[in-house]
Symmetry: C2
């Protein structure tokens, strides 16, 4: 029987590549996605398409409302920053940081894993491009895993959980290269922090900038649909 894994799937490039890696390693995958008060539903539509494409065993979309707590441009009223260069992006913790988001996501993944008898959890965090997010660093993931194995019946009984972060030390270009080797069609994925109602990416937020640069470095056109940018003559 194939070993099972929970894969956190946002519908973005990183989590999709992570799902592709887990599937390629022979795991029977269960996808877990959150409706957490995002500005838009585009991500969820992408996640559903991607889960179906990979033929996951089950895809759970869990409703949680982080808006109640505020505190982020991704869930609140702050503006998503646009057209920042690499120096600006690496300068401190961005306003798109959602307090304790990965901790909440991994906690649900842990609950789902223990309920289903699964011990392997995959998350597509990346410490290189988003060095500003504290909950994307290896020391955080290690601390979560330690905590998880003290928190749970399975952990206490000597059948521990492992959190896998196959992208954690990869640059965006390397992530895309790995995904293309695995045959992933990145047209399915949604990266933009601020898509329009048709789901078209803005091309200007930090997430779009990093993605476009990653494709350019692979000398491949990004298959995502970008909306035209208005400009004065």
């Amino acid at each position: 029987m194939k070993r099972k894994a929970i894969v956190l799937l946002s519908g973005g490039l990183d989590s999709t590549t992570t799902l592709g890696i887990a599937a390629n390693e022979g795991y029977d995958c269960y996808a877990l996605t959150f409706r957490y008060g995002q500005r838009h539903e585009t991500e969820l539509a992408c996640a559903k398409k991607i889960a179906a494409h990979f033929g996951v065993r089950d895809h759970v979309i869990a409703n949680i409302d982080l808006r109640a707590f505020g505190g982020s441009a991704l869930t609140g009223d702050m503006d998503v920053p646009k057209n920042r260069n690499a120096d600006e992006m690496s300068d401190g913790i961005p306003v798109t940081y959602v307090p304790a988001r990965n901790t909440i996501f991994l906690s649900f993944a842990l609950a789902m894993a223990e309920s289903l008898g699964i011990r392997d959890i995959f998350i597509g965090v990346n410490a290189i491009d988003y060095s500003g997010y504290p909950d994307c660093r290896p020391e955080y993931i290690a601390a979560f895993q330690t905590m998880a194995n003290l928190a749970t019946k399975a952990g206490v009984e000597g059948d521990p959980f492992t959190i896998y972060t196959p992208l954690i030390n990869l640059q965006k270009a390397a992530i895309i290269k790995r995904g293309l080797e695995l045959g992933i069609d990145y047209a399915m994925t949604c990266t933009c922090y601020d898509p329009d109602i048709e789901g078209r990416a803005c091309g200007q937020c930090d997430a779009c900038s990093l993605r476009l640069k990653g494709f350019a470095q692979n000398k491949i056109k990004d298959p995502a649909v970008y909306r035209p940018v208005s400009h004065s003559l």
Copy 2:
């Protein structure tokens, strides 16, 4: 200005005593309660009354659905065990264990705390009476706190979170004694795992048994309302 704290409030005896302790220590308290697919809404009604009684600054009731993951008598279809003696209760992890429940609860408390600029979180876990729950032990709480301070902007920037567990080493009788000293009216609290539709306690589940024993040891009648037990002559 008073220092602020988040207090996890289930509506039960332990969390209510914890709220009383935090308030008595001079904290400006914010209560956080979860609607997580419990068998009954009695707990939530109690939590609202208690939050109002203590005049908390705010009371957030967060909706999360743990039923999607199954795996517990408190959220699923398993029966709540009744009439167990102390030996039976201390024998292993009970079916009322909800996978990763306290981890999910503390993760939300952490998000709420960081959003509100709060650094102190109170949780009424107890390692004595419920020795079977892995996520009620001091080593788990310590690991969560370590993880929390790696997960968050505040933690990384040197303004760390502390998780307070004032009841962790107290027997139930000692918890009740402390609460009575603080003037807590335990008639407000709901402890039973299996109340009837009127909110009356069963008097027979592990939670009721421990509570009744705790009041008896204080030589005080439990002010909670218990339903009559049917029996043959």
